[in-house]
């Protein structure tokens, strides 16, 4: 499979990654400018994970996301207009302004929600996969979760059940080395979250989460495995977040050094991808620039859409509680 990645797929992944990057940079700015309320957990630096996984999924397949969820939604086809509108708390947002960043979702794209609860996703993804298997609908569910989330009991229970029932689900660990401000070494005694896979009777795979192609290949295998009824995989992607835990600049804490950040930035997933595109002559520099430019325009349009959208009507406050 690794030899077979097509140019179209590379272009597709690149586009998804650039869309995430530019969306997030602007969203972060808008939050820090006080235009977007609440707390945003930005995905910058981790784009290769969402990009490399999501190209394997159709709109029918489901994902569960995390508090750091914009990247997942964008990579799965989320539109900037409704996304920004949601972050701005407007009625035109994906959740009519009721969810915000931490609960942004789109059932039509199979997105069973960002989640404000760390470890909130795994049981739901496992359950969706259970439902898929029951309904024999051939859909796959993918669960994104962090290194920090791997210590929640909910992950353990979901992974065990997925292994037991051989469910069509892939657990994608975005190991960015931190849970909030706590480095991995201070939250677990292991280096590789993938070491936990054996305890659930599933394969554990580790990939370079900054390299979209590596992610693409490993995710392809895992998704195939899930879809063909062979059961779940735990896919650990070693990655890094370039921004702070919340927002861009964060709280000014010294839980990681500037050098460490700079070191990782040298392996910026978009940079790596663009080097590859150029090297393999898949896209020219102009074509790459065009992707950025078009996306920038879409970001601006999304902001405009959001800012011009109305706030939810007071009457909607107690709507949507029950079906």
């Amino acid at each position: 499979m690794s030899t077979q990645i097509s140019n179209d797929t590379l272009i597709d992944m690149h586009r998804r990654m650039v869309r995430i990057r530019l969306f997030e940079e602007t969203a972060g700015k808008m939050m820090e400018d006080g235009k977007i309320p609440g707390a945003l957990h930005l995905y910058v630096g981790e784009e290769a994970v969402a990009g490399g996984v999501m190209v394997h999924l159709s709109d029918e397949d489901q994902i569960t996301s995390t508090h750091r969820g914009h990247g997942h939604l964008i990579a799965k086809g989320g539109e900037f207009d409704q996304m920004f509108a949601e972050l701005y708390g407007r009625s035109t947002g994906y959740c009519k302004g009721k969810g915000g960043s931490m609960h942004i979702s789109n059932m039509e794209l199979g997105i069973l929600g960002a989640n404000g609860i760390v470890g909130g996703g795994p049981p739901i993804a496992m359950g969706a996969a259970f439902g898929n298997k029951f309904l024999k609908n051939n859909k796959v569910a993918v669960c994104f979760f962090g290194d920090g989330a791997s210590n929640e009991g909910s992950f353990h229970e979901a992974a065990n059940m997925a292994g037991l029932y051989k469910l069509p689900v892939v657990f994608v660990c975005e190991n960015n080395g931190f849970g909030e401000y706590t480095p991995q070494a201070n939250h677990q005694a292991i280096v590789d979250v993938a070491d936990r896979a054996a305890g659930y009777g599933m394969p554990g795979v580790i990939v370079d989460g900054m390299d979209a192609v590596a992610v693409y290949e490993a995710a392809g295998e895992a998704v195939d495995r899930a879809r063909s009824g062979k059961g779940p995989t735990l896919l650990e992607c070693k990655t890094y977040r370039f921004f702070d835990h919340v927002g861009v600049r964060g709280m000014g804490l010294t839980y990681r050094s500037d050098e460490e950040v700079e070191r990782w930035k040298k392996r910026d997933p978009i940079l790596l991808m663009e080097e590859r595109l150029l090297e393999q002559k898949v896209l020219s520099a102009e074509q790459i620039k065009a992707v950025h430019d078009i996306t920038s325009e879409e970001v601006l349009a999304g902001i405009k859409f959001a800012e011009e959208s109305p706030f939810p009507d007071p009457s909607s406050l107690t709507e949507d509680v029950y079906a």
Partner: protein, 332 residues
Amino acid sequence: MAEAQLKPRTLPYVSAITEGVRAVMLEQPTAFVAGEDVAGAGGVYGYYAGILDEFGPERVYDTPISEEGIVGLGVGSAAAGCRPIIDMMFMDFLGECMDEVANQMAKMRYMFGGRTKLPITMLTMAGAGMSLAAQHSQSLEAWICHLPGLKVVMPTTPYDAKGLIIAAARDDNPVIVVLNKMSLAIKGEVPEESYEIPLGKANIVRPGTNYTIVAMGRMMHEAIKAADELAKLGVDAEIIDPRTLQPFDTDTVVESVRKTHRALIVHEAVRFGGFGGEIVAQIQEEAFDYLDAPIARVGAPFSPVPFSPALEKLYIPNADNIVAAAKKQLGL
């Protein structure tokens, strides 16, 4: 959808639960049952007896001992298009899955702006009386009634058990069915057909003129015994079984109190902070001028459930406590 009365037979509560589950499985093709020991063993109280045999392993699943996972299985599969019936063996185990219940199941629809629905039925077993001590005997409905997005029912009779389970499963929202372990052998008439008890509709179990008792769950049966006692004292008690706690049928209760001018609320849960407080608050909000006496409450004392039968029988509210509270309230 009407409350049916076709071919009633006398059945125990435990079998009525089974019939309710069976009816759901028959009428809802995407319904399945999942929980700890619900398949092979038919449930630790046997109320899934025969379900595996009839519907097969594709629709009845034993799960690991993973309560958060079980509720997640319900939430995820419902979001994927199923209508799961999940079992939470003892209500006490809600502690193990409250995040999934409170933060995911109850809120998902609202957080998503109404763009999903979660038709989940959860059965769970509450109550003391079997010397199962502090962690297998609780009545924790106060936790879940306070959570917008959930519905909560508490069947007290075989008839209600079957009809409420069917109604719960037909509803497009998560509904928690709180069963009672001391009621398993209680007998009553149950139609063979599928029928539903409408959610949100209280039942006037015994009409009366000058006293209202709102009795939840198994306490309804104690209230009936108490009413017989009270009748001897000239108190003609109307007994209301809310059946659904969320949404609560305030109207039926208030109407009764406007007629009787006095009310007593009974639940097995710890009195302090229990659901009774909500009912009291609502009654006095809506019927203040009709009240001739403070609304009384009977509930468990402020302690965990003790193991020793000698203490447990003092712990659980019963007909005597109800009579005593009523007499005190009425100055008799």
